[in-house]
């Protein structure tokens, strides 16, 4: 199944803007990631490294939005907005949950890495994206990746 992609206006900006809505269904994360990467190609070719970073952070953000934000409720959606230009790509991933406080997510201790089976997602996003911010409610994450 392909995802309907809406092209949104982006006045006063040389880039392009897209929106996708993804149902809360973890089995669809892979397909949604590829649809989002396709949108990102609108701003120019993606290097293999940028493609890797994009796929990884997008899969993380979608899985977090579905599992923790939407509590795996299939009636809820995840909205992804993508802004691309020749310099950078910004993804905004929004769930329909109550939000969370990212600063209260405990950091992984060195001794955790070999033991824990969860808790690496936000850690990985923060290392793979140049800029990561959240809205006040905590149900939208913005991730910016530069092309260079």
């Amino acid at each position: 199944m392909g995802y309907p992609v809406r092209r949104l206006p982006l006045p006063g900006h040389g880039g392009q803007r897209f929106q996708l809505r993804v149902p809360t269904d973890l089995s669809q994360v892979g397909e949604a990631v590829e649809a989002i990467v396709d949108c990102c190609r609108a701003g120019g070719a993606l290097s293999p490294r940028l493609r890797f970073r994009l796929r990884t952070v997008t899969a993380e953000a979608l899985a977090n939005a579905m599992s923790y934000g939407n509590r795996n409720n299939p009636a809820r959606w995840v909205t992804v907005e993508i802004e691309v230009d020749e310099n950078e790509i910004t993804l905004a991933v929004t769930d329909e949950g109550l939000g969370f406080e990212p600063d209260r997510v405990p950091p992984l201790r060195d001794s955790d890495h070999h033991e824990v089976t969860s808790g690496r997602g936000l850690f990985m996003i923060r290392h793979l994206a140049e800029q990561v911010t959240f809205n006040e409610r905590g149900n939208t994450i913005w991730m910016t990746l530069t092309r260079h």
Partner: protein
């Protein structure tokens, strides 16, 4: 994406992950490994040669699989991580948990 199993010389079970290892298919990998263990396999190799990316739930699944294999007296090796995936393992310090070879061929040497 596909997860396939084959047998190599030395009684090694080789599991190949094609595409990605993420929240959507991590249970498939865990089941394939469990089936191999149930079938008596004790030398396991996961080949990530055709794998484009792995998310945190995929890494978590590998930690869980490694623990299960060791509990049953087996050994798990990883192979074929591209440069980006290897850096992800280094970032999450999992490069020091697993035996990682450049390729499946190298991993099978002396296994």
């Amino acid at each position: 994406m596909a997860i396939t199993t084959s047998r190599a010389a030395g009684d090694v079970t080789v599991v190949t992950v094609e595409g990605q290892l993420i929240v959507a298919n991590r249970q498939d990998l865990k089941q394939v490994i469990q089936d191999a263990l149930d079938g008596g396999a004790r030398k396991l190799l996961i080949d990530f040669g055709p794998t484009a990316y792995i998310d945190s739930s995929g890494l978590g699944a590998l930690v869980s699989i490694n623990k299960k294999v060791r509990e049953q007296g087996g050994e798990l090796r990883l192979a074929g991580l591209n440069e980006d995936l290897r850096s992800l393992f280094e970032l999450t310090k999992l490069d020091t948990l697993f035996v990682i070879a450049d390729s499946a061929t190298r991993a099978l040497e002396g296994y």
